[in-house]
């Protein structure tokens, strides 16, 4: 059975069908890319699947169980993590703490134990600190371990979000334009990073505009246009598809 199934998902904002009758499924351990021109509905699709928006119709199933309409924080409990296109970093905290937030569910959050400085809590917190420092190193952020989030450049923050998502130890990782706003070198690094993560067995769903990256990384690609599914298949199939080319580049007159 596929790990994640999206079944005829739609969302309408007033008269706009931002996502219109989209269905696909993905298997565990694969890298699945969602591409399409700007405004095609890619981020909206992400927001629907990660339950930040409620769909007008359709269903989403994880391991066969419906997760449509669940509260977003509960998806984290099911092992779904994501990053944001417009960066959602807790600017008021340290870089390391941002990553530690990702591991929130793995720690004891009981108010009373916290207030009374229960010994177990401190010990595990310190262990988590170590683990998250290691995680920051693995995404190339060793220089920022002691830094505050508000002192970090854009490229580093993009990687910080990925580190935070990884701290959840997710089964599925949704990456929303991880290379947006990055230069060629940085994009290459992200490319390698995503490859490393995929190699550990995490299922990845990727929204990206950088075609080289998409071609390198993906096992399967979904093309959206005006909220509708335009094409789906392997990189070769999709990128040679004349409709896809027309949607991106326009037809010649």
């Amino acid at each position: 059975m596929a790990l994640l199934e999206v079944d005829r998902l739609s969302i309408h904002f007033g008269g706009v069908k931002a996502v219109d009758d989209v269905s696909f499924s993905l298997d565990a351990g694969t890298v699945y890319a969602v591409i399409g021109p700007n405004g095609a509905g890619k981020t909206t699709l992400f927001n629907l699947i990660t339950d930040l928006y409620q769909p007008t119709s359709g269903d989403i199933r994880l391991d066969g169980i419906s997760i449509t309409g669940m509260a977003p924080h509960r998806l984290a409990m099911l092992g779904i993590a994501r990053t944001f296109q417009n960066l959602q970093i807790c600017i008021n905290m340290d870089a390391l703490e941002n990553v530690m937030v990702g591991a929130h569910l793995r720690l004891d959050r009981n108010v009373f134990k916290s207030a009374l400085h229960w010994p177990g809590i401190t010990r595990r917190d310190r262990a988590l600190r170590e683990e998250c420092s290691a995680l920051m190193c693995s995404v190339g952020l060793e220089h920022y371990i002691g830094a505050r989030a508000d002192s970090m450049p854009y490229g580093a923050l993009k990687r910080l979000e990925i580190a935070r998502a990884l701290a959840l130890q997710p089964r599925i990782l949704f990456l929303d334009e991880p290379a947006a706003g990055l230069n060629a070198t940085e994009t290459l690094e992200i490319d390698r990073l995503v490859r490393r993560v995929a190699d550990t067995g995490v299922t990845i769903v990727l929204v990206e505009h950088d075609m080289k990256m998409v071609k390198n990384l993906s096992d399967r690609i979904l093309v959206l246009d005006y909220g509708k599914k335009l094409a789906e298949g392997s990189a070769q199939e999709v990128l040679d598809n004349p409709e896809v080319i027309a949607a991106y580049l326009g037809t010649s007159v």
Binding site: L52, N86, Q88
Partner: protein, 294 residues
């Protein structure tokens, strides 16, 4: 039967009268909110200033029309000062910061009035006499007609201004999208200044009109402002027509509640109303603001 109708009308009249002031206050909130996304907690103080200054100027010997005129112009100036000193420096800050700074401004205004004009309660003579008008068994004070009439004129004038004049449309454009407005050459800083001035004058006018009926003192601003805000939210924050309807509604419900249920809790009614609206109809009756993009 007749007595019940008379009583109902009585409550309705007093409710609509005070509701007109709330409506003007609500309009003030809406003007500023649309221009800057700031809730001006000092709005109520403009209403108070209108009342207090009209008393002060007329007692200082100025002819009534001049006194009233000044009582509207001076708050406008205060409003502009507020914009320059309190809002501009913190433009774009967190909501908490903005709320607190306008609260601070309201304290400064109220404190200064308390120091310079004292803690007394004052009144103004009614504009056209005190002879009550009888209507279906209920009495209506002529001053109420002044309140309703002038308020309606102001609302119509503002509506015309925003819909049909170039400057009014420029202000609306700024409220929808500040950046775009700047790009087409609209002087958005000026727009902000004007909205504060307008909002303050409108509020002050309400205060001036109401003073012969409800009297005035240095601390009437708080409740009036808050109830005006309730009216703005009830009608849908950011919606001008909603503000007017909301304000009137708050006034009427307050009067009805005071008359039929309990006059001790009269002042609590608008707040119960706002909690109700915020929980069940947060966009207000006519619909308010939009969602964020993630």
């Amino acid at each position: 039967m007749d007595l019940q109708l008379a009583q109902f009308l009585q409550f309705l009249f007093s409710g609509v009268t005070v509701g007109a002031t709330y409506a003007l206050a609500a309009l003030g909130f809406t003007l500023i909110y649309n221009a800057s996304h700031v809730i001006n907690f000092a709005q109520g103080e403009f209403i108070m200033l209108g009342g207090m200054l009209s008393v002060f100027f007329s007692q200082a010997g100025l002819p009534m029309p001049l006194a009233l005129g000044l009582a509207i112009v001076v708050p406008a100036l205060v409003g502009m000062a507020l914009e320059k000193l309190a809002i501009e420096p913190v433009m774009g800050a967190e909501t908490v910061t903005l709320i607190i700074i306008t609260i601070g401004a309201s304290l400064v205004i109220r404190g200064l009035v308390q120091v310079w004009l004292g803690k007394g309660t004052f009144s103004l003579p009614a504009f056209s006499g005190e002879k009550p008008i009888l209507f279906l068994g209920a009495t209506l004070m002529p001053q109420s007609l002044w309140v309703l009439g002038v308020s309606a004129l102001v609302v119509l004038a503002l509506g015309y201004f925003f819909k049909y004049t170039l400057y009014g449309k420029a202000m609306l454009a700024t409220s929808y999208n500040r950046g775009a407005a700047q790009l087409v050459g609209i002087h958005t800083g000026g727009v902000l200044l004007v909205s504060f001035a307008l909002s303050a004058s409108v509020g002050a006018l309400g205060g001036v009109l109401l003073t012969p009926i409800t009297l005035t003192s240095y601390d009437t601003g708080i409740l009036l402002g808050l109830k005006g805000f309730v009216g703005a939210v009830v009608g849908g924050l950011g919606n001008g027509l909603g503000a007017v309807i909301g304000g009137l509604l708050v006034g009427v419900m307050e009067a009805m509640g005071a008359g039929y249920i309990s006059s001790a809790y009269k002042d609590a009614i608008p707040f119960i109303l706002i909690l109700f609206i915020l929980f069940f109809l947060p966009r207000g009756i006519l619909g308010g603001q939009s969602t964020d993009r993630v």
